[in-house]
Amino acid sequence: THISEIVVNGFKSFAMRTAVKLHEDLTCVVGPNGCGKSNICDAIQWVLGEQSPSHVRSQNMAEVIFAGTAKRKAYGLAEVTLVLNAPKATGSEKEKLAITRRVVPTGESTYLVNDKTVRLRDLLDLLNSAGLNISSYSIIGQGRIESVLTMRPAEKRLLIEESA
């Protein structure tokens, strides 16, 4: 299983619909300071159901919507789609799984799997059953590499329990 591409539209600094194709082994994302690299990281964390705004560097969930620039007005919607190549439950062929999340200025999110609206709980169940155990340490944000060391002993224990 791997992410084949991520499509961002109106999410943070991605005013225009942008598709980022990823390689199944090693992809590097490069660019000058402030160009939007960490926003891609936030987008992946967000589309997978992240509920805490601070984990995507925002004060509230509506803040992920493109807020405008000197030349463009703010948008009313942010949408991210993650396309996963997951082995079919039934065999060896691969199937594409498209997970989408949208948010409006009220902060309310909607989730879709292959264009069908689902509840967040359904999405998380699906990810788990498809063997997509996305743990809390799958995405390590900028400056957070040492976060596993600075956790309290009880939190470190939870990491081990999570992987049990």
């Binding site: 992809t27 590097c28 490069v30 000058p32 155990n133 743990s135 976060s147 002993p153 329990e161």
Partner: protein
Amino acid sequence: ALARFTDTFVKVNQNFQKYFQYLFGGGVAEVRMMDDANPLEAGIELFAQPPGKRTQHVLLLSGGERALASIAFLIALFSVSPSPFLILDEGDAALDDANVERFLELISRLRKEIQVILITHNRRTMENASTLIGVTMDEPGCSKVVSLNPGEVWEKMKL
């Protein structure tokens, strides 16, 4: 539940030691229970001994050593409960050139098993990528993405 936790604990400890030695070229690393008498509740802490130095709590290591120890612990967790991908946002920022090379050796093993996505400013790291994604802001405030060949990075990206 206890048997499963203990089993996982032992495996994470073994792998933490293995990856730490790989990254530091020796030394000892250990995951310790804070209270052996109470394995069901006790918190855990990480200790490390870089080659030739004394054993200490990981937070007393230097900036670069802490980044390497974190990477060793993270990959140890992955080896016990694999997730489909790992995304590291400038995880190589604090490392000197020699440690970047060791980090990249570890990544080249990991990428055979799972998908890895690295955000980086380090040239050596970029050179290892199968796919290189450049992010630019030709129009200020609006991000765009271009797919790059490693050779193009320097002209196209004004890095």
